[in-house]
């Protein structure tokens, strides 16, 4: 009985998930563009692709039909850049004449823009 329990424990501890094989990885290449085209923009995913995008070029020889995946990642990253750029542009445009600062409540103004108010006074 003890032998059986130790055996089951050892088999559990030695269990490792199987590494995906080539057909499964090819399926990832084929299906990922669809999932990406329906995915919301998230900073985590965009950053992951930004850090791993150069690796795709190395995989061109190993997997067929990599073009759609590359295009899908490029489009996703462009959305990321456009969103970030538009947010920065919006903040700059709203704050072009201190417009945002004028309309903020006094408490929020004190909390968020203490330094800028100090600079204006100087």
């Amino acid at each position: 009985m003890i032998m059986n329990s130790t055996k089951s424990n050892s088999t559990k501890s030695r269990y490792t998930p199987r590494r995906p094989q080539q057909p499964s990885l090819q399926l990832a290449v084929d299906t990922l563009p669809f999932y990406l085209s329906h995915a919301d923009y998230t900073l985590e995913l965009a950053n992951y692709f930004l850090s791993h995008n150069p690796d795709l070029k190395a995989l061109n020889d190993l997997f067929s039909n990599m073009q759609p995946l590359q295009e899908a990642i490029d489009i996703y990253l462009k959305v990321h850049l456009v969103l970030n750029g538009s947010i920065i542009f919006l903040i700059l445009w709203l704050n072009r004449d201190g417009h945002v600062l004028k309309n903020l409540d006094s408490e929020t103004k004190r909390w968020s823009c203490q330094e800028s108010v100090g600079d204006n006074k100087d």
Binding site: P17, R18, R19, P20, Q21, Q22, P23, S24, L25, Q26, L27, A28, V29, D30, T31, L32, F34, Y35, L36, H38, A39, D40, Y41, T42, E44, L45, Y48, F49, H52, D55, A58, L59, L62, F63, S64
Partner: protein
């Protein structure tokens, strides 16, 4: 005799369901409502389980992945099982949820392609799926998971190239 029967049936339908509603429409609507309710009961626990037990959305990822048109093919579903270690096929769902047994079984993984198609349509229809609706956040989470698995395996693929690329 036939004319009499048809007249009788029509008059009965009009009497009970109104002049503009046919018997077929009435029953098809009720059938849709029943199927929606069964599917919601069968699959909403997958998303609830992911939140409660913090299983990193294991079941949610499986249901999100199955919305891809390529996965109508049983061979691709078996490949997906090889890609995602947490993949739970329809056979598993059928084992724990008797509601899904209403769908005809398939020898490969427990469900026929037409049933998978119906499930895909259900999961992508916000009005029908309600809590089971596969939205953009779930697609983003699945994309990140597949990308992580893919790029983690890439180093192995580069240094140990396979004999054939399918």
């Amino acid at each position: 005799m036939r004319l009499t029967l048809n007249f009788f049936e029509e008059s009965t339908v009009k009497e009970f369901f109104g002049p503009e509603t046919s018997l077929y429409d009435r029953h098809s609507v009720e059938r849709d409502i029943a199927i929606n309710k069964l599917l919601q009961e069968a699959f909403s626990w997958c998303f609830d389980l992911a939140i409660e037990e913090k299983e990193e959305g294991i079941n949610a990822h499986t249901l999100t992945a199955i919305t891809h048109p390529l996965l109508l093919d049983a061979e691709n579903r078996s490949r997906m099982r090889g890609l995602l270690p947490f993949w739970r096929g329809m056979r598993t769902y059928r084992r724990y949820r008797p509601e899904i047994r209403l769908f005809p079984a398939h020898p490969d993984d427990g469900m026929r392609p037409e049933c998978i198609f119906e499930l895909q349509q259900f999961l992508r229809d916000r009005s029908r799926a309600v809590t089971c609706y596969v939205d953009g956040k779930r697609y983003a989470a699945l994309s990140l998971k597949i990308a992580e698995i893919f790029f983690e395996a890439r180093s192995v693929a580069i240094f140990m190239p396979f004999a054939s690329c399918s």
